[in-house]
Symmetry: C2
Subunit: 260 residues, 2 copies
């Protein structure tokens, strides 16, 4: 699949998902507690409806492709091309009415993230990339995404979703970065990765991520010039503890703080 084809198909998926999700935004929600892995990790009807809409289109247009999704699990996940979906990343933001959740649509080719898109249907924003280039469409205005050139942690802006999401030792590692950073912005969810790619902040440090939380961000961020790996420097496709920065230099400095 070429980039232009990936982008136009992913946009079709994002729009279909956004149409079924938006009627649920800011209406009373029956959130379902999914399990023990977090204090509160709700699945909403909107999440399910969004993923169903995307799966239907993939199955129709690319029946040989695999799918890994937050809500309905995996199908044909050893295929050459596999779509990795999170219809509502940032479910707490969604429940609270904050427009910083997003629909994440990633594409793996032989296990490597080669295309990603994030959609925020309330603010009407799309962010996408293929590892070489990245773009945004903000309320109809298209631009190239490019990271900020800040290179030192003491001048760098950090974002993470919540300090409550780190376990004990990870919290210590995270805190070293927080203490070294210029300032920290909480409540990021997927929106933080988009703003990192757009040059509005300089790094994100998170833990406990699933593949569907991160695959879409990889080609967007790399296409904007950024670096994204696990805390031990491995490829980010499998999730876990993730460090994303605007540059190799900042990445090395923050890796030093995380593994001190």
């Amino acid at each position: 699949m070429k980039h232009s084809l990936q982008a136009s198909f992913a946009k079709q998926l994002a729009i279909a998902s956004g149409e079924v999700i938006m009627p649920y935004f800011r209406t009373p929600l029956e959130a379902i507690n999914k399990g023990e892995k977090a204090k509160y990790d709700p699945v909403t009807e909107a999440d399910k409806a969004g993923e169903a809409a995307i799966r239907k289109l993939i199955n129709k247009h690319y029946p040989t492709h695999g799918i890994i999704g937050e809500e309905y699990g995996s199908e044909n996940e050893n295929a050459e091309f596999v779509w990795v979906l999170d219809p509502i990343d940032g479910t707490k933001a969604f429940i609270c009415g904050f427009p910083v959740w997003g629909t994440l649509i990633g594409l793996l080719h032989n296990g490597k993230a080669v295309f990603g898109m994030m959609h925020q249907p309330f603010t009407k924003e799309l962010f996408w990339g293929d590892g070489k280039q990245a773009f945004s469409d903000i309320q109809g205005k298209e631009s190239r995404l490019k990271v900020n050139p800040c290179l030192d942690v003491k001048n760098a802006i950090l974002s993470t979703t919540s300090p409550l999401l780190f376990k004990e030792n990870d919290l210590k590692s995270y805190k070293r970065v927080e203490n070294a950073a210029k300032f920290t912005r909480f409540g990021g969810d997927c929106y933080a990765y988009a703003m990192l790619a757009a040059g509005q902040l300089d790094m994100t440090v998170e833990a406990g991520l699933a593949p569907y939380d991160i695959v879409a961000h990889i080609p967007i961020l790399q296409g904007a010039g950024g670096i994204i790996t696990t805390w031990d420097g491995k490829e980010a496709e499998n999730g876990g503890k993730i460090l994303a920065t605007n540059s190799q230099k900042l990445h090395e400095e923050v890796m030093g703080l995380l593994t001190e």
Copy 2:
């Protein structure tokens, strides 16, 4: 001033401010560190331009009214009517490109908050109230604001901007509420108060607020059925440590936790 007149004039102020602020949103910012009261409390050119636009209109249409603003200080602050302004509440959110900052326009009558408006020009949202009623205009659709009826802290959603904004003893008090709540959403800024009024979350706990951070929220939240006071139960107009809840019952339970 009648409510309808207050609302139409405040909307005029919000639009004028939004027009001069928006060109700065998501462009590189020269943020200025204002002082010691916080680790990082930037003032932007946008902030100044927004407040200047609002002051000009107030001075033209209501020359006898006083003004208290974040950027340009106080003028005639002992007048019967005093406008209390924060052109960009949530400057860190603004710098990071997150659309959860807002323009706060409050009106005091003999020291009591009688009208408030919050404007988010990127998402095209207005929230306003006069203590008896409250409304929103979300991308052109007007609705009544009404708090969520959740009454117990264990089922209540908490929001605060950042746990880093609490000093040592205040952090302990705050943590008791966080531990008791259903879950906590960070990165709220002014947006959290609007979402509390809209019934999307149940309470906010914050410290170190200035009058211009809070005056506008009081009549909106009270108009939506909520309660807002200091942590020791006094009127919120002077800022400081602020507790806002959806109901008197939840307010009493959280006050118990804060002052344990």
